[in-house]
């Protein structure tokens, strides 16, 4: 501690330790919060096609098209000083003859802290293709859509939370065929 450099070293190391302790304190104040929020999903249109699938082992697979409405107010319990952003995603879950559980992500969104947090989306189309592994979507009674999110914190664990609203829709029995004139 007798030279400037030695004092600077000591000061800097102490500041970093104090900063680490403060970050841990920030994590501890928000680690045990319940981050579930009621979510309202409504599906307006469902269409099914049987198309060429070049990514799977068979020639044709089912492709679903869903148009949905989404509304949720996610501000109060979720955003606090330890949240940097939220990663929301809408996933469809169903069972078929060949697979007992299928989960497909249809749409996602990143909500940064400070942005508008009242979600009110109408007539949204899915971002990603709803391909089935086979032909199990036709006449499927129960396809459940759920909105979940990943909380990205400033410090600590990243909790994965399932939203408390989900909707089950049946898929049509027939494929949509393109009209030929």
């Amino acid at each position: 501690m007798n030279t400037v450099l030695s004092r600077a070293n000591s000061l800097f190391a102490f500041s970093l330790s104090v900063m680490a302790a403060l970050t841990f304190g920030c994590f501890i104040t928000t680690a045990f919060k319940d981050r579930r929020v009621p979510v309202d999903i409504h599906v307006s249109k469902v269409m099914l096609k049987n198309v060429d699938d070049f990514t799977g082992p068979r020639e044709r697979s089912d492709l679903g098209f869903i148009t949905f409405d989404l509304s949720a107010d996610i501000l109060p319990p979720i955003f606090d000083w330890n949240v940097k952003q939220l990663f929301l995603y809408l996933s469809a879950e169903y069972a078929t003859k060949s697979n007992s559980l299928n989960q497909v992500v249809l749409w996602d969104k990143i909500v940064l802290r400070g942005e508008n947090t009242k979600l009110n989306l109408r007539d949204m189309k899915s971002k990603y293709f709803f391909f089935d592994d086979g032909n199990g979507l036709r006449a499927n009674r129960n396809v459940t859509l759920t909105l979940s999110w990943n909380v990205v914190p400033n410090a600590g664990i990243l909790p994965l939370v399932a939203g408390s609203g989900h909707v089950s829709i049946p898929f049509p029995e027939t494929y949509e065929t393109t009209k030929s004139y």
Binding site: M1, V4, A8, F14, G25, T29
Partner: protein
Amino acid sequence: MLKHKHQSWLKRRRRRIIWQLMRTAAVPLRGRNRINTRNHPQTSGHWRPLFDYKGQKLAEQIFQGIILISAGIGFVYGLIIEQFGWTVYIVLAGFAVSCVLTLPPWPIYRRNPLSWQPALPESTAEPSQKPQESTKKKKHK
């Protein structure tokens, strides 16, 4: 103008140090025993390291106290306004303040320097043949 003021301040400081050392010296310091203040830690060589443990302890207490206080204030403020960025800013401000207060060699950290033993001569010549020896050697004879 400023340099003149600094020189006269240095002169006053040297006189004060000489006076203090004369009062506490073991032998009377007169004539050839006059005190050399050119290398005294409180009048020159501020940036050279000075071994003053009490001063360094004071410096360490000061910066630890400032950083802990700014950390406490920052944590509470960030918790209230729900933004961790402000906590970091307040701690950085405390870091800057304690940099200014403890990094440069202020005089308060140089008040109690260690008094070193005199250096032993390398040659074996007798002291009487060297009338220009420093006063410290004569003190310890």
